[in-house]
Symmetry: C2
Subunit: 338 residues, 2 copies
């Protein structure tokens, strides 16, 4: 339970209960082609004998508020594409196309175009097409300059390339790939606990830039790398670290009876997380349960291939490191001082 | 220009300017497989030599507010599925799957499950799977009981079955299919001009039920019918009548040099539209530019097949009628008294 996040108005337990209820009602709308439905990082739909369509949908969360408050609207679309294309990438699927939905309080054409230019940049980074989108005006429901972004990414994967948590074995290696910052999760906590105490124009020690610039840093897009690693059969599963952090998301890349042993000294938590923790007076466990803490993606692979995975991630411009091991027993261990 | 809608805070001209700017920025994120991008009813992506994936994204608009105010949350998801599956159907594509995104001010598990049960029902009506979805909590941005719904539908169509406005010829017949009411467009106008004057519990003369029940009537889902007609090669194009009404949407189903001659006596505008017009004191042109006025879909076909199209629509449970003809010259004629 995240106490700090509950203070921020986000109830993760209610969210989990909602997911359980949704699974029940969604079960009535399955077709035989659905290979995996609501609950995984992305949905799998059998296209033909050896190929699956993969789809994920997500929003940019209330990171949109930081874009609105700073007036910098042209990168939040990158976050939007990242959120669902990274989910789709967790299956090994190559993203084919993306569709965005921009809901605004009032349509200001230049503002909407600026938002969508970020979506287009995100699509270029993910290597997919911006196939369509929708702009809707909801006066009264949103203030004139408020907006909300959601989007959907559709990919394609051959069955032989599919990443699959059930293939992970005890003793496998876990490789962490660095995040580019907060990505697009935890912003309700930032808004309620940090923004009342710090100004977005401030340049806190250690950040080397303004708080606004740091918070707006676009979410890293991992799909080209993951697709390459999957096609080369170098990894067995991938877990996108989003809301709920490592404790909630890492196990989604593992079989139900296995867990993770993390080496906390494998990486240094970036300064922005320390700043948020101090300013929000949040606990260690709360921070790990809310933010990615510097790790955007966790890959599971055979021990023998871990070095090659780390090297290829580096060549693709990512910082990767040996994060820990897969061991018996559910859960993530080693995150907290024991 | 819709004066009544501008009073309601929705600026259709700004929306059109935004679409033009979006087309420019989106052009930078196309891939060779994109057969048709931003602008049509749905996006087309070439899957292989003879098949195309088709995707559409849309929201339920502020019809969500009527659901919230009446506390009836279990049908608005049908509207959500209808909006994008009807768009996808305009290509003749069979819908494969749908993903929803529910953004709430506060997660109340039973409320979210009720909303998603409607999404599941919509998927069953459209004949597609509910492949995935996302529930996000945006405290502060939305009030605790406010919510916003967006969704994406992905379909598949063989090239030989593809509906294509460019195939429509002068002299072709136009078949109208009745809407089930307001569908999910025009609700900002309803909220600003009707709700201050009428109570949702009122039972105005002619409706035979409460205003709330009438406004919440789920959007008709046409995809099974359109897919059948396309597979039988009985129609050449289809136009989903949404925001902007017949004047804006009907021409999207026609080649650029052709227009429509409508017979206004072909159908009776349902009482709810008269009630909205009177209560909102809106002009005739405003109403046609904002609402579907009783027509949810317009199909173009050879004159010789029009009777069979109407008959098959009837067998599928829809009310269809001969609406007019395709003639030279852009635009929609015959809607206004001349």
């Amino acid at each position: 339970m995240s106490e700090a996040y509950r203070r921020a108005g986000v109830d993760l337990e209610a969210g989990a209960r909602a997911v359980d209820l949704i699974k029940e009602v969604a079960a009535s709308a399955l077709t035989p082609e659905v290979a995996s439905g609501v609950g995984g990082f992305a949905g799998l739909y059998r296209l033909d004998d050896d190929r699956l369509l993969v789809a994920g949908t997500d929003g940019a969360g209330t990171k949109t508020e930081i874009a609105r408050l700073t007036g910098r609207l042209n990168t939040i679309g990158i976050d939007l594409v990242a959120m669902s294309s990274n989910d789709v990438a967790c299956t090994g699927a190559e993203p084919l196309f993306f569709l965005d939905c921009v809901v605004v309080g009032k349509v200001v054409p230049d503002a909407v175009a600026s938002i969508v230019s970020g979506v287009a940049e995100g699509c270029r980074r993910a290597g997919c097409a911006l196939l369509g989108g929708e702009t809707a005006e909801h006066p009264g429901l949103l203030e004139p300059d408020e907006f909300d972004l959601t989007g959907t990414c559709v990919g394609l994967v051959e069955e032989g390339v599919l990443l699959d948590p059930s293939r992970v074995r005890e003793g496998d290696a876990l490789v962490g790939i660095a995040s580019s910052g907060l990505h697009a999760n935890g912003f309700s906590l930032v808004r309620s606990e940090v923004l009342p105490r710090l100004d977005l124009a401030d340049e806190p020690e250690g950040l080397g830039r303004s708080l606004g610039d740091e918070l707006l840093e676009p979410t890293a897009i991992y799909s080209p790398l993951i697709v390459e690693l999957a096609n080369r059969h170098l990894i067995r599963s991938a877990a996108h670290i989003t809301g709920g952090g490592l404790p909630e998301n890492l196990p989604r890349g593992l079989p139900g009876d296995l867990g993770a042993r993390i080496r906390r000294d494998a990486w240094t938590v970036p300064p922005i997380f320390d700043l948020v923790q101090m300013t929000a007076r949040a606990g260690h466990a709360d921070m790990f349960a809310t933010f990615n803490m510097g790790i955007g993606m966790v890959l599971a692979c055979e021990k023998a291939t871990a070095d090659e995975v780390i090297e290829r991630a580096g060549s693709a411009g990512h910082v990767a490191f040996s994060l820990g091991d897969v061991e018996a027993g559910r859960g993530v261990r080693g995150l907290m001082p024991e």
